[in-house]
């Protein structure tokens, strides 16, 4: 029985020991080496700490070391948590406070990290594999144990760590295989950073089909023509990318002058709404490639529904989120908590199944707020996740995403709580008050602030120490006084309306 993601790695190491499993710009490893590296790291952690189901933070880079470090943590029976060293220090501090990791492993070449860490390279240098130790751990783990946690923006100013079990990831890749049948040895072109759950699909789908994960260097995404050359050179067959990355290629009309991706078989996209214009551009050049829209938040383990694009969409049409994967239930709830069955009626999208994450790490309150019993089931404990996304059924009973219920936005591929930005803004001494709205048309975060004089530069300087760059507002509008609504709160609705009308 497969009760651990390592079962898939071990199968590959037996069936294809010399096949390339992971590759980046500078190095590659075979399945045999992949397993051995992970076992060495696992042995080290097990001997050093001797605990299971505790968090181990991993400082990541765009390299394969990050991936086998993750699996090393898994061998030790613990949960890995990717950390981007480029995040502002204060935010990393908040994450570490929430996690209280037993160790921080450093999969990068960086030496000057602001916290104590152990380099993966050092562990591997004279590391050994102690199989009996690893086997004892394996006898003791469950598929409901946490596998990883990924941090996402939190409206109160503290990021939330979504923790996901082995069972949910096994459910995900089994469902993907059911829907998309990846061929043996498939090559996945990894775009998503490892602290995004989009990358989970590359890592574990590849393990299912004994495929290869090719980690595409970040700088390729600033040079679309070179990116395509790289994909061609690496014989990439599958792209599981953020919408924003596919848009880079489309928006620059990259294929007008460069046409060469003979190996490309499947393209998946998720993270935000795919603009029809960009999708049509891709499909025009790859008529024989399968394009799939994936939908779902991190809390349900990557995706809960999919839609295979089988026709050309008109620019004013929406690409549906599609139908649920096997072993996943999705439904719409109205404001009275009743299940909607009619077409074209808007409700909140809710999800149930093995895909549900364990909840937010060390945050019982927020977990209980979002993971709740299914209405109408009282005879046994049930659980569903309220996504906060509003949607409806179209004529074919596909789910179609409409908007958010709250102040969460998707901006440049990132999921952001406007509230988290506002907490940082309101902590700045020289501004009276501030709120943020999102201009969906121009795709800009607009900050309205109250201050005596313009101080955009100073605000940016303050924010840069607290928030990652993608969370900084793009536009700063000073007001002598911010308008209030009848409840005495800053009137975002009016601000947004005025802003959107003024910008026509």
């Amino acid at each position: 029985m497969k009760n651990n993601v390592l079962c898939y790695l071990e199968e590959c190491a037996v069936s294809h020991p010399e096949r390339i499993a992971l590759g980046d710009e500078f190095q590659s490893v075979t399945y045999r080496e992949y397993q051995e590296n992970a076992q060495k790291i696992g042995t080290f952690l097990a001997k050093q700490y001797g605990v299971i189901n505790r968090p181990v933070a991993v400082v990541i880079d765009r390299n394969i070391t990050s991936i086998y470090t993750f699996l090393g943590v898994v061998y030790s029976g613990n949960m890995y948590v990717p950390l981007d060293a480029g995040m502002p220090r204060e935010r990393i501090g908040l994450m570490l406070d929430t996690l209280k990791p037993i160790a921080i492993l450093n999969a990068t070449d960086l030496d000057d990290l602001p916290f104590e860490s152990i380099k993966t390279k050092e562990i591997l240098k004279d590391g050994t594999v102690d199989l009996p130790v690893l086997e004892r751990i394996r006898m003791n783990v469950l598929d409901t144990d946490p596998l990883y946690a990924i941090f996402t923006s939190g409206s109160t100013g503290v990021p939330k760590g979504v923790s996901v079990s082995h069972k949910s990831v096994i459910d995900l890749i089994e469902a993907f295989q059911d829907a998309f049948a990846f061929e043996d040895g498939c090559v996945f072109g990894n775009q998503a950073p490892f602290d995004f759950d989009v990358s989970v699909k590359d890592i574990y789908n590849a393990l299912f089909c004994a495929g290869t994960v090719s980690v595409i260097p970040k700088r390729m995404f600033t040079a679309p023509a070179k990116l395509i050359e790289y994909l061609c050179l690496e014989k990439i067959q599958v792209l599981i990318w953020a919408v924003s990355a596919l848009r880079i290629v489309a928006d620059f009309h990259t294929f007008d002058s460069i046409k060469m991706l003979p190996d490309l078989k499947k393209v998946f996209f998720s993270g935000e709404v795919m603009p029809v214009k960009s999708l049509n551009y891709w499909r025009e050049f790859f008529p024989n490639t399968e394009f799939v829209n994936l939908y779902g938040p991190t809390e349900i383990t990557c995706n809960c529904s999919y839609y295979v694009v089988d026709k050309k969409f008109a620019p004013d049409e929406k690409i549906p989120a599609g139908k649920p994967f096997i072993n996943t239930r999705m439904f719409l709830l109205n404001e009275k908590n009743e299940i909607i069955t009619d077409k074209n009626t808007i409700g909140e999208i809710c999800v149930a199944g093995s895909c549900l994450s364990l909840g937010y790490w060390n945050n019982k309150e927020k977990t209980e707020e979002c993971f709740v019993p299914v209405p109408g089931i009282s005879e046994y404990p049930s659980r569903m996740y309220k996504t906060g996304d509003l949607g409806f059924y179209d004529e074919e009973m596909n789910f179609v995403f409409v908007s958010r219920k709250d102040y969460q936005i998707k901006h440049m591929g990132h999921r952001i709580e406007l509230g988290e930005i506002e907490v940082s803004l309101n902590a700045i001494s020289f501004i009276g008050a501030a709120v943020c709205i999102y201009d969906d048309i121009k795709e800009k975060i607009v900050c309205f602030y109250q201050a005596e004089e313009d101080c955009k530069k100073e605000i940016v300087k303050e924010l840069s120490g607290k928030l990652p760059k993608y969370m900084w507002p793009n536009v700063y509008e000073r007001r002598e006084v911010l308008p209030l609504n009848k409840n005495g709160k800053i009137d975002r609705v009016k601000l947004k309306k005025d802003w959107c009308e003024g910008n026509g």
């Binding site: 600033t222 040079a223 679309p224 880079i248 793009n474």
Partner: protein, 73 residues
């Protein structure tokens, strides 16, 4: 080329563009910044940068971007 500097500062108010080299290669600008810059250059200068010219070398400094725009105007 004050217009270019103005445009760049609107996109990234935190960067001193006049005194920074290796904007892209040094990871000061990321791919989203480059895209925003290309879009703004295209619309404000009424040109259409070719995808072959969208490479780090052309965006590493204010000077490099000026040179790139001159090629099109």
């Amino acid at each position: 080329m004050d217009e270019l500097l103005e445009l760049l500062e609107e996109i990234r108010p935190d960067i001193d563009f006049e005194n920074t080299d290796l904007l892209v290669d040094g990871n000061v600008l990321d791919s989203f910044d480059v895209i925003s810059i290309v879009e703004e250059i295209n619309s404000r200068f009424g040109i259409s940068l070719d995808v072959a010219d969208i490479v780090p070398e052309n965006f590493n400094s204010l000077e490099a971007m000026e040179k790139l725009i001159k090629k099109y105007t």
